[in-house]
Symmetry: D3
Subunit: 140 residues, 6 copies
Amino acid sequence: MSHQPVADRVATVKPVEYDQATGRVREIFDDIMATKKIDFVPNMWKTLANYPPLLDETWQRLKRIMGPGRLDPLTKEMIALAVSATNGCAYCVNSHTAAVKKLGLDDEALGELLSVVALFNSTNALAEAYQIRPDVLPPQ
Amino acid sequence: MSHQPVADRVATVKPVEYDQATGRVREIFDDIMATKKIDFVPNMWKTLANYPPLLDETWQRLKRIMGPGRLDPLTKEMIALAVSATNGCAYCVNSHTAAVKKLGLDDEALGELLSVVALFNSTNALAEAYQIRPDVLPPQ
Amino acid sequence: MSHQPVADRVATVKPVEYDQATGRVREIFDDIMATKKIDFVPNMWKTLANYPPLLDETWQRLKRIMGPGRLDPLTKEMIALAVSATNGCAYCVNSHTAAVKKLGLDDEALGELLSVVALFNSTNALAEAYQIRPDVLPPQ
Amino acid sequence: MSHQPVADRVATVKPVEYDQATGRVREIFDDIMATKKIDFVPNMWKTLANYPPLLDETWQRLKRIMGPGRLDPLTKEMIALAVSATNGCAYCVNSHTAAVKKLGLDDEALGELLSVVALFNSTNALAEAYQIRPDVLPPQ
Amino acid sequence: MSHQPVADRVATVKPVEYDQATGRVREIFDDIMATKKIDFVPNMWKTLANYPPLLDETWQRLKRIMGPGRLDPLTKEMIALAVSATNGCAYCVNSHTAAVKKLGLDDEALGELLSVVALFNSTNALAEAYQIRPDVLPPQ
Amino acid sequence: MSHQPVADRVATVKPVEYDQATGRVREIFDDIMATKKIDFVPNMWKTLANYPPLLDETWQRLKRIMGPGRLDPLTKEMIALAVSATNGCAYCVNSHTAAVKKLGLDDEALGELLSVVALFNSTNALAEAYQIRPDVLPPQ
């Protein structure tokens, strides 16, 4: 028996669809699709478009930080996935898993990445549980 | 006036010092120092030694996961730092910052890494705040 | 193609429906609907009714804290939404978003509120990531 | 060289000392010491006394929930410690570790407890990281 | 009107079904069903099987920690539920709620347990909100 | 006996002092002190100055979001404090508590605010612990 994947939640505001978007919002939507080389506007951006200043600042910030720098794009997306898994953010885990796969991470390397994430969520809990004192306090 | 860095917390159990350690605990302490190429036992391991099975499993697991694999050691330590910063674990942030620096990450690249961590803690909050629906549900 | 919104999760215990409620639980259900000026019992309260002492204390506490005081009702519901978004609690985000809208917050002001929530989840991560020392320690 | 334990933080409001307490606050302070069989007022309660309604409701609630019921006192304090370690709350970890020790938990059993806490912080991260679907959806 | 429970999310990788499992993965699946006395492989394990080393280490660790020790099985599962509720992990809350019920916890005792979890999430927030100083710093 | 407040942690990078700051960093430091009407540079900004792009974007973003809008400055700082207390961020709690006090919130109103924060951290845990289904799914 096949069963259809279902939407697991609905946004608390109505997303702005591409066809409804005008002006600055339309420009940002176009920039998102061109920059990410995709042919649809992800729900995150359609939702933030309800408050254009938030759409604008979030997109400009993400574009700048995820752009060329010292760390490569795959490393940055793996960091994004590690943060999202730690926070338990469903939208973000879905989105960044798709991104790391698109950048070439296969299921084995994803498994290794998530082993690291799981390990340190565990040791973080232990360090807090025993209130362990830092080893070396950096100079100040 | 100079002021000394101070311990910012004390453990809830008494750490086992190297000189007190015997048998399996001593072996693990030696293995930790040899593997990490350091000449002291970090507080995490001295604390876990209060319950040797926890020391043993945590060290074996960390040694295996942080050992050779598909992801390089610096990437794994950056993931560890991203997780620890997201959880707000003081001991862990100190420890993994020391590790990434030892592996060659300078303050500029550290700043870029933490920009990524800050960015996605922000978008995670937005995705939750608007209850944004995943874009693409993977096949199942 | 239209697709129906679907329940995104089901409770781990069977909610107590209004018609099944008797005695103290029925009284609380009536008080909830009268106080909130709504004509249904929200799922939170139907679920807590499985353990009446928890229903009772949670409702009395919420009624008292959310009642008249120094802070106005909209401010309190915005605080509730900020906490719920930060924790990533789906039920709570839905519930408090409905509440702030009912109290007059429009989508623009909601966007501004969530910008603030996103900003400080970001700076919180940075403060932890760099283990920044408090500026001014209050007298003690 | 001996080094003194130091206060690891200071409260953002001035604690109310026992000698300064009057009326309802004094009564609650006395009840806390009598109920917990201790001869000092813990900092939590001295701090909450800055806003007596919060002191009152928190103490009454804690006294009722931690009082006689289906679960024994040690189990309840272990739950409290598990929650506090997961949240990384320093004050709370210290306080509940002291409580479980007073109720007879030795360092070995504490180690076993914290192994359980660490394990499930790890599997929680994995379940979120892979967005694992619940196995069995309860009837509704 | 009856409405069907629906899957509330889908995994980001394809679960390995029992019939597809071979070698070490098949052995672990058999051990999971035998140890837990269930006749299906939970989604957690089918998902982790995408990266066998993670399946292997997670299962061996869970089996050892949840096996005979100083704390009884119900206490350990209650700790697991407290951690999972605090983290807001949907899969984990479902799974550990099923486990505590199977071990005999009825809805009343579950309500008492969750009252404790709710209480300390509240006091944790207060301790952080006021930055309360630990009462007694343990010897070091 | 008086005892001195002590630094409760030290940053993992060396803060940039005002006298060392040049160019864009000096300009931002001056803008921070002028905008906030304070005569020192808070540790957050001295630390971020280690990576000037992060200092720049964080300050510009904070200045814009915390500037004139639909919500008043005190409301925004209360939201900031609610987020910081929920995340357990020590630096941030100290900083935003100072800010709300400067904007006129007295200890009683602060107590009421923190009662709200504590209440909803409690109900968030309950909603997750019982996996409560949203009441009303918004149109999409």
